[in-house]
Structure formats: C-alpha cells, structure tokens
Symmetry: C2
Subunit: 207 residues, 2 copies
Amino acid sequence: MHADTRQQIVAAADALIHRQGYAPTSFAHIAESVGISRGNFWHHFKSKDEILDAVIAARVEATRALLARWEACSQTPRGRLRCFVQMLLDHRDAIERHGCPVGTLATELGKLAHPLRPRSGELFALFRAWLRRQFQALGHAAAQADALALHLLVRSQGVAVLAQALKDPAFVRREVRDAMAWIDAQAPEPPPRARSRTPDRRNRPQR
Amino acid sequence: MHADTRQQIVAAADALIHRQGYAPTSFAHIAESVGISRGNFWHHFKSKDEILDAVIAARVEATRALLARWEACSQTPRGRLRCFVQMLLDHRDAIERHGCPVGTLATELGKLAHPLRPRSGELFALFRAWLRRQFQALGHAAAQADALALHLLVRSQGVAVLAQALKDPAFVRREVRDAMAWIDAQAPEPPPRARSRTPDRRNRPQR
C-alpha cells in the first residue's frame, strides 16, 4: 500500500512538472492531485528535491522501456529511427500544450542551476546513445553517428519548442515528414518502395 | 530620471527572467538587482505581470533593431540568413548557460498558461516573418519560404535547448556549420567559392 502511494505521488508530480514546470509545482499541488493528507505525503517525501529525484528516476526507467519497445518495433535501424520521430506525432497534443518533458525540464533546471540538473541530462544521454547505435547500425562511424544522433535530437527539441508556441498541427506534420526524409537520406538501405524483399511487418512507415 | 529608473528595472527584470526564469524571479530580486527601494519600485510597476509586459515590449523593440542591423549587414538574402545562424555562435556562452531568451520564455509562459503567452509569441513571429522574407528574396514562393523559415527556427531552438543541456562548444559549431550549408542549399546563388565576382565585404561567412 505504501509503495502504491509513493508511486502515485511520483506519477502526479511527474505530470504536474510536465504541465506547469518544476518551480510553480508545490507540495500542496501534488498532495491535492493524489488526494492524500500532508502527513501521509511527508511520510514518503521530505523535500521537493526528493520528489524531483524520484520523478527523474521514473522517467529514466520509462525511457529505457520506451527504447526497448522501439528496438522491437522494427527490424531495421531506419525503422527504429522513424519510431523516434513518430513520437512527435503520437504525443502532438501534449507537446503543443506543455512542450517536451525531457527538454523543458532540462531547460528549467539549467536556469535554476539546480543540483539535479545533471541527472535530468541523463534522459538526453539515453536517447543520444540509442540514436547513435541506430546510426552506427546503418554503417556510420561512431563520431559521425553521434553527430547524426545529436542532429535528430536538435530537430525534435526544436519542433517541440515551436509546436508549443505555434500550436499548428500542419507545422508538426511537415517537420516530421522532412525528418523522416532526412533519416532515409542517412540510410544506405533500399528505399521504402523497393523494400518488398525485406518485409518489416511490425513497422509500416507512415507517409 | 523616472524614465531611467523604469528602464533599469525593465533591463534588470529582462536579464533575471532570462537567467533564472519568470516564476522564480520576484520583486525583491529585481529591486535588489537595480538597487532601489521597494517604494520606488512600486511607483513604476504594480505587478509582476506589468513588468513582464514591459520586458516583452523591450524585447520586441530590441528584436526589430537586431533585424534591421542584419538587413544592413549583408547585401544578399543568403548573407542575412547566415547572420541569423551566426547568432548561435555570437551568443553561445549565454545560450549554454540560460538557453534562448525567446524560446525559454515562450515555453515557460505556455506551461503557466500565462495571459501574456501570446505576446511572447510575437518575438517568434518577428523572426519568422523576417526569415520568410529572406527566403522569398531567394526566389521561394510564400508558403515554401514560410516552411523554410520555420525549419530554421526549429534548428536554432533545438540547438539552444541541447547547447544548454550539453555545454559542448563543438556541438554548437558543428550544427551552425551544417545550418549554414543548409542555407546555401536553399539558395540558388553562386556557391561561396565562386562569389568573388559579387563581393560582400561586410559579412564574411565563417567556415
């Protein structure tokens, strides 16, 4: 029962931090969102920083699970890279309202010079290493694969910032389409139309 | 004298909002930064929102002046587009520490569902319209020029988010170099090496 309450607090804090930011999120907001007393709350967490640490740990775990799902979602590195970009469309609503949870938290903790800022950077590091591995699997050397991984992070973060500011679905769809084409241009695999010899049933790219 | 104090308050608030964000910036921080009494402060501004409104107005004015300088800095639209990208290198230190002032404020006000969020979007709109005009001058139709303008904003915002998270100057230099090459690819002008017939002394692109 205690573990459940703790998980509920972390999930509520995670959602509130994404929705409104870390600085404006108070103990009272989180307790109200979970529907527990302040006493029960304090039993689990003594400070906002403790909660933030738990939220980041939960996000790291969720990111590892997400990357494992993408790993399984396609047999080709190009298909897996497309899963990453597809995320911008799958979460378009939340991104237009609150931005990217990874990017906006890193930005805010950076401005606050918060001691947990480096921890929040682990989330970028997970995506970076995973993307780099996909580009290496496409035949790029490590340094080049890393540069391509960072460029894809640049595009996704830039789209998230502008999506939140513009709230224009056509803009997101166009940038996703262009990013997919950019991935294809980095991939010395046969183009989609000629892929019938290497069918990839679990991941049909969307046009 | 009053006007000077007002300007000092706005400049101090502008810097603090960029450095630490809007939510954590209090009246006390701003008054302390300017070195004035709270009474003097209240004479000029009655609420944090009033200050934010003045900060955004000052940024709009500064952005118009910046765009006018870029307009003069090169005789070619390609040279002017390169001025925009060069900004990432010229302000690399501040961006690595605090992110882009335009993007991070829009992100934070979006999360706060702040009534001045649309006003902060005017800054993006100014850059977007100016960039669109440059791409139109390169021969692109209005809709395509607008898409290219937004893509350049995507790249600059993405670089700013990652630059703050990574603090890796080599990353920024590489992304700037790639963005310059991307601009060149959109420009049906002679490539840099063949430009000796159309010298552009005031804006020597950096390799």
